[in-house]
């Protein structure tokens, strides 16, 4: 046998070569770590090697958009077959890389805005997908087998040494830089401004190799802003049922809300309807949540003790800064968000996830996949899954676990809690499309895109409740596949799935509290009007914030 290789620092040697190449192609043009935006393509061609794993920071909010554009301009004869490992495909440049022959393989989490084009390119063989992950899964793989060689990241400001301030939208940056910098990788940062003294240091300079002042501030999307004017009475009714039938019933203190008008309605009913039920202090004190503008009235009414955020939300900066007892903020006063930490918090430390979906099947599997679109998962599967590794108890977790285990034997007899995972949907979506289906579109998509398994957002065995305008189905209490199916049909309204119910069996489930209607919960439908919302439009939210909330222009509709 040959002697084993004795060099143990090939990666750091390679990193030194890359840095030396950069210094050689930019003689006298670098100031410390600073590179001019005019030289960005030259820099990228010098530090990249064919086949590199590259993380291009792009998540669902902030985007390293200047570096994304620059990467599409490198010479594909010199730089090709890059393996992109990034959480979100949001910009057209993210896919242009594959069309231009610069990248060939992709591991990612979410592709909302590019999902249709991604599906077309995958079926045309232009992109090889490694896997579609959740955020936490992808970040985890950065530390195992998908460690980036080069990361192109985004920050608000840099100082002369290359320390970075990420501002309120720290998001994915710490996870990306940690994995890259401590495994001999290269970190290139685009920043919006160069300053003498940073408000605070989010990323230390010795983890960063190059800093480029971008010609324009990075793009950022106000993804979590919902105009209360668009919340419907049905959403108010569903929110009333959620609060009375689930939040109060289980005493949910720690939770995460998905994006959407359904959960925005709940947020806006806390200081009104929930307050009238005497629930203040008994529910909803601790959150893993972005700074949703719809939370302002509840925060102002003293409902909320803490909120840790995945990212920030445009316009909420001054409000957050003025409420440091609620939000996590730096010594400079601004929000410190962190997607990896907040995802872990949502998974392990929350008793409930509640969110909307597009399709639910008869087993309760729920999916946002539609044929012809590869949209990915984002964070919902980690929020909306029982944390099997959880060991600490809370009243909500114990009650859900007890319901699931009541009367069961063998391995299921061990006392254990369960996370509440609630899927909230109106039975018909727009254009009279049923939210309840016999077969999820995910099956068709799996076939089209040659996936190993259908892309299910939340598995039926993790879903504990399905809430529609017709009522709540408590799946924890179902004891057979048939009961489960009838419980789901029993809240599926006038959709074909709902019309296909066995009326006698659904009434039996109702007697046992497995299916509950508004009247069973003591929810008076006469009060299900928009006047129950603590804010009825954007202007009300601004007013509730004492003028601290500054909505983006497109939401300034008064």
């Amino acid at each position: 046998m040959n002697a084993p290789c004795t060099a143990w620092n090939l990666q750091s040697q390679n990193k030194a070569q890359r840095l030396a190449r950069a210094a050689a192609v930019l003689p006298g043009r670098m100031q410390g770590k600073r590179v001019s935006s005019d030289d960005v393509v030259t820099l990228l061609e010098a530090v990249l090697e064919c086949g590199d794993r590259v993380c291009l920071e792009g998540n669902n909010q902030k985007q390293a958009d200047f570096l994304a554009r620059a990467l599409t301009r490198v010479n594909p004869a010199e730089v090709h077959d890059l393996h992109m490992v990034q959480s979100v495909l949001a910009l057209s440049e993210h896919l242009d890389l594959f069309e231009n022959g610069i990248a060939s393989k992709l591991d990612f989490s979410f592709s909302g805005p590019q999902s249709a084009r991604l599906a077309r390119m995958v079926s045309a063989g232009q992109i090889q997908i490694g896997a579609i992950h959740t955020y936490l899964e992808l970040f985890s793989r950065y530390f195992v087998d998908l460690t980036p060689r080069v990361s192109l990241i985004c920050a608000q400001s840099a100082d002369a040494q290359g320390n970075l301030y990420t501002g309120a939208n720290t998001e994915d940056t710490p996870a990306i830089v940690e994995a890259t910098a401590f495994k001999s990788g290269i970190v290139v940062a685009q920043v919006n401004e160069l300053v003498d003294v940073l408000p605070r240091v989010d990323i230390p300079a010795d983890w960063v190799n190059f800093v480029i002042l971008a010609p324009k501030p990075n793009a950022i999307e106000p993804l979590f802003t919902r105009d209360p004017a668009q919340i419907s009475e049905i959403q108010v009714l569903m929110a009333m049922m959620a609060i009375k039938g689930i939040y109060a019933e289980y005493g949910v203190q720690r939770l995460n809300h998905g994006i959407g008008f359904d959960t925005a309605a709940i947020e806006l009913l806390l200081p009104t309807y929930a307050e009238s039920l005497g629930l203040k202090g008994k529910i909803c004190r601790h959150w893993a949540l972005n700074p949703h503008p719809a939370m302002i009235p509840a925060i102002e009414a003293g409902w909320v003790e803490s909120i840790h955020s995945f990212g920030s939300e445009l316009g909420m900066e001054n409000y957050v800064r003025a409420r440091p007892d609620v939000f996590f903020t730096g010594a400079d006063g601004s929000l410190r968000s962190n997607r990896a930490m907040s995802q872990a918090a949502g998974h392990y430390a929350c008793d409930m996830f509640i969110g909307s979906t597009l399709q639910i099947d008869l087993n309760g599997h729920s999916s946002t996949a539609t044929a012809g679109r590869i949209a990915g998962f984002g964070g919902a599967p980690n929020m909306g899954a029982d944390a099997r590794g959880r060991r600490h108890a809370s009243p909500a977790w114990l009650k859900a676990g007890a319901q699931a285990r009541q009367g069961r034997t063998g391995v299921h007899a061990m006392p254990r809690g369960q996370k509440l995972v609630v899927q909230m949907v109106e039975t018909f979506r727009e254009h009279m499309q049923s939210a309840f289906v016999e077969t999820l579109d995910a099956w068709k998509l799996a076939e089209q895109a040659h996936m190993d398994i259908p892309p299910v957002m939340i598995y039926g065995d993790d879903v504990t409740h399905i809430l529609t305008e017709e009522g709540i189905a408590n799946l924890l209490l179902c004891r057979s596949d048939e009961e489960r199916e009838q419980a789901i049909r029993g809240v599926a309204g006038f959709t074909p799935v709902g019309l296909g119910r066995d009326h006698r069996m659904v009434e039996n489930l109702r007697d046992r509290g497995i299916v509950q209607r508004a009247e069973d919960l003591g929810v008076d439908k006469r009060y299900a009007t928009r006047s129950l919302l603590a804010a009825r439009n954007m202007r009300d939210l601004v007013r509730a914030s004492g003028g601290l909330y500054d909505p983006p222009k497109r939401f300034r509709n008064w």
Partner: protein, 107 residues
Amino acid sequence: MEHLNFELDGLRQPRPFDAFVVGVVGSGNLEVMLEVSAKPQRCSVQITTSARGFAPIWEAVVNDFQRRHSLAGVTVSVNDMGATPAVVSLRLDQAVAGLMWPHRGSA
């Protein structure tokens, strides 16, 4: 416009009341008017809707409504501008919630 009429048997006759309307006719919304009718064991439901081709769903909505409320001696008039079944059911339930019932020895 599509017009649909349903005549259903019912058992629960509310106390006499003046005709009243809940809801408004607007996009995705509807108004529901309740009036006393001359047929004490029947509930008449008269629907005018801007959305054509949904008669089977209207029938299901109306049957479900009557299964839950069993109204008698009442005419229900619906003017719909493309509301979802969810909104229709909510509006019908809100209308019935405005009725008063005679004291019943047994129910």
